[in-house]
């Protein structure tokens, strides 16, 4: 069992799903209880990953390897490093909370709903733990189907449009990514005479810049659509608005991270020359900055509460991609941390919208106002979530954004300047949203008697708020966790980076020497 902990984490939801299928559909409460138990158990099972993980060691840990399809060289190969550990933990926690939050909101086709969620859970964890590109691709695609159904069956009025748009967009991207994968696979065979999809092997490839660029763009389309980066973001607002609350939470907190994770895990190490190519970096940075500012501006204009948060994701994910393409340890580590932060804070924001939507069945911001008087607990939780998303110091968002900005500043002052504008705009639309919905007098008579949050609803937020404060107050364990993997990536894409670091160290030593000299002189004078 010990060696197979990661497999257990990966397949626990699937096992739960198989048992769920045996429960007759009419037993709604039993199904709900069972799905929640499975979600909670999956989270508990994943906890030992944290304690077992040794952050002083680079490379992948808890690796499990088995032959899967020997004739094409595909393996069942899973393992985690600091980056994937964080994302797996985010998935198991948010996955459980999303299931838990659906208790009241989903009442028809309950069995199918939870079945889809558990399948989704396995797919998402699989994406983050796969170290074999073929396996990764299988999980990557596996995620699409349950998400299609969650949006398409339990979604809002335009659910079918949103669901198929989500599916087509991501699928078109991922099949092109498949071509990139196959190119690497084929190149590896040409250079080393063996067929493999192992990431660790494929990293050894030396390809000319031209080929690397093609592969990079193939990956880019797959990942950028998933993130989503600026010109490919149009599926996101539709999917978010139409999805049921738990679907939006999963979509924002975990699914989008698959794209940024892809950039960090695959694009950078596998095609390093293309990834640091000046033109490509410029394009990516510009797209990220456009995403940051455009997302924020569009958020400012939204009349729909959920759409506002959806567009804010475009803006926040822009920070994540900007951090990645700053190509320095601060940028990348900040980006990973910001992905977690976004998962926590945007997850909370969507849950908050879900709570009010269950009570009023509208998301028009104009319908609300002064809710703080009626629902004080709700207003407090919303305030925390909003401030964490806006990047208030001592909450998680600040740490991530600050580190990314540090990285961006190191790469280019101009990038940082534009990105800071995004931070300001971010604070603007979030605070304004809060003001319009929560503060002032109760403007709509229908809001006068809304019940405040129940205990169950409070409980959903508790772990997320605790996590947000932990990252905000004491982020060191996270940076420790990310140090090794990020260093490996930076060394891979910019082999001279740490030599540049050596120069800085030299300067420090020189300074040190000078002080020593002064001390010596003083000592001499004393003599």
């Amino acid at each position: 069992m010990d060696q197979h902990l990661l497999s257990l984490v990966l397949f626990a939801p699937l096992a739960g799903l198989l048992i769920l299928l045996l429960i007759p559909g009419s037993q709604k409460n039993l199904i709900k209880v069972w799905a929640n138990l499975v979600g909670f158990a999956s989270f508990l099972i994943s906890l030992p990953l944290v304690s077992r993980f040794d952050k002083t060691v680079g490379g992948f840990q808890m690796v499990e390897r088995a032959d899967w399809i020997p004739s094409i060289g595909a393996k069942y190969l899973i393992g985690i490093d600091g980056i994937s550990l964080l994302l797996v933990m985010l998935t198991t926690l948010v996955g459980f909370l999303a299931i838990f939050s659906s208790w009241n909101s989903i009442d028809d086709r309950v069995k199918e709903y939870y079945a889809m969620f558990l399948l989704l859970q396995t797919g998402m964890i699989g994406v983050f733990v796969s170290l074999d590109f073929f396996l990764f691709y299988v999980f990557w695609e596996l995620v699409l189907v349950p998400m299609y159904f969650i949006i398409g069956v339990w979604g809002g009025p335009r659910k079918l449009y949103a669901a198929i748009k989500f599916f087509l967009y991501t699928l078109a991207g991922s099949v092109l990514m498949l071509l990139g994968i196959l190119t690497l696979y084929f190149q590896y065979h040409q250079q080393f005479g063996a067929y493999t999809f192992e990431i660790v092997d494929l990293i050894k490839l030396e390809m000319p810049l031209g080929v690397q660029q093609w592969v990079f763009w193939a990956f880019f389309i797959g990942f950028a659509i998933k993130v989503p980066m600026f010109p490919f973001h149009t599926w996101l607002p539709d999917a978010h608005v139409e999805a049921p609350t738990a679907g939006s939470v999963i979509l924002a907190s975990v699914l989008l991270k698959m794209g940024t994770y892809g950039f960090i895990r695959f694009s950078l190490p596998l095609v390093p020359k293309a990834s640091v190519n000046v033109t490509i970096v410029q394009i990516l940075a510009v797209l990220s900055i456009i995403g940051i500012i455009y997302g924020a501006l569009v958020s400012l204009m939204q009349q729909d509460w959920k759409k506002l948060v959806a567009y804010s994701s475009v803006s926040h994910l822009g920070f994540c991609t900007l951090g990645i393409f700053a190509m320095n340890p601060n940028g990348i580590a900040g980006s990973v941390l910001q992905q977690i932060n976004h998962g926590i804070s945007t997850g909370m924001l969507f849950l908050i919208i879900g709570i009010i939507y269950e009570r009023r069945h509208t998301r028009e911001i104009a319908e609300y106002g002064g809710l703080a008087h009626v629902m004080p607990k709700y207003a407090i939780v919303f305030a925390i979530a909003m401030l964490s998303s806006a990047g208030l110091p001592l909450l998680n968002g600040f740490v991530g954004e600050f580190t990314i900005l540090q990285g961006a500043f190191e790469a280019s002052h101009v990038w940082a300047a534009f990105a800071v504008m995004g931070v300001i705009l971010g604070a603007a639309y979030l605070l304004w949203l809060y003001q319009r919905t929560m503060l002032g007098q109760v403007t709509n008579a229908r809001n006068l008697h809304l019940p405040d949050m129940t205990l169950r609803e409070m409980f959903v937020f508790l772990p997320l708020i605790a996590w947000a404060i932990w990252i905000g107050v004491y982020p060191k364990p996270y940076f420790d966790l990310l140090e090794k993997p990020v260093q490996q990536i930076v060394e891979r894409v910019r082999p001279d980076y740490y030599q540049g670091g050596v120069q800085k160290a030299d300067a420090a030593i020189r300074r040190h020497r000078d002080t020593a000299k002064i001390a010596l002189i003083q000592a001499g004078a004393a003599q």
Partner: protein, 489 residues
Amino acid sequence: MNQFYTTTDHFVLIPAIMLALFGCAILLFDFLVFPHPKQRKWLLLFVVLGLGFTGYGLWRQQAFLTANGLTELTAFQGSLTIDRFALFFNWIFEIATLIVAIVSYNYLEIEGEHHGEYYALMMFAQCGMFFLAAGTDLVTLFIGLELMAICFYIMVGFLRGDKRSNEAAMKYLLLGAFSSGFLVYGFSIMYGLAGSTRLSDITAAISARDTWDPVVFMAMATTSVGLLFKISAAPFHMWAPDAYEGAPTTITAYLSVASKAASFAFLLRIFLGPLASSRDAWEPLLAGVAVLTMTVGNLAAISQSNIKRLLAYSSISHAGYMLLGLIAGNDTGIQGIAVYILVYTFMNLGAFLVVVAMRRKNIIGEDLDDMAGLMYKNPGYAVLMLIFLLSLAGIPPTAGFLGKYYIFLSLIQTHHYILAVIATLYVAVAIYYYFRVVRIMFVGELTEKAPLATSFGLRLALGITGVLTLAMGIYPEPFLRLAQSSLLK
């Protein structure tokens, strides 16, 4: 046994003999021994027995090849060749015939057109397919093709009372005869070039000539037209939607799987044999045809409201994907076609089987809307259909992904990047129309309360196809080995 019919000849011919014998037996017994309609179930036993003996023959041939370390066994002075390639395809025909036969019983009862000839025709058609996969002589191949085609003309029009069925059969017959004309024309030029009808002689004669030799080009072009018609590649696909729609659904399934597999076996024999040396001439031509086929198939499928027509166009687009494997032409490509055909057999049969189940007493059940809310009426059928459709679209972890994987890989290996990008993007188009069906099944409101038809045969067939479609996706190793061994070498 004399020199015209040696023991080897007999050994090679056994499966075809069994099919023909049991086909005749079914005709005779239906007429003489089982006059009562209720006794027709015995005919099914004949089919199973016949297929069993055929399978035994094939199995012995396979064992013989393995035991003696042979790659092929030729008979009738090189007219028939049993190699891994022929065996691979014959196993596919076996499975397709068996699955279609066991679901036909209930279906034909519902249609009210249950006659013994139906089963006999299936056996004869499979006999034709045997010759298509094993034939290495133009005359043998042509006879095999016509035997199969004529059986299909009759079977497509089997619903005598149904206008659409009659129309479909007529169209298929006329266009089929026309394309056969082209094919024979091409064959005659080949014969003129080589002075022989043996594929090996023709290969030698053509490779001695220039790639762009006009006579060779003529032979290639006319033969291609005939072959492309049979696999329903655009622009020779016109017959397919009509024939698929009008034919009894079981026959549509059979036509789309077995006939297509046999035609591909035939096509590969010709293009990798005699025409291999003029690859430069036909490669761009076929590339154009493949792109056009995928375009026509995928785009036309989007607007279909009849599910049989939708699947017909989808099967046209699948022919385009398979052609891409031939265009790449390396081992991966050819293996890719084999894998593709294998997975296609199960997933496409499966999808049509669900359509077969939609036909109930007094309910035609061919419109997309007839599937509305299927998930809440027959969840088993709906989930199976979902698996088949995902597989047809090529989404892992279903079998269909494997087929596409090989095709894409072969295109990358041979530097056909543009074709690869086009082919991948059509996957996204395909998902759109496959998911129209999914949407209707899972989100649509239940309008028709009557549950789908069911019978032991149908459940068994759906079970086999469904399990294999998933199993080949999740643990494909044994199936890939099988396909790998079938390379034409």
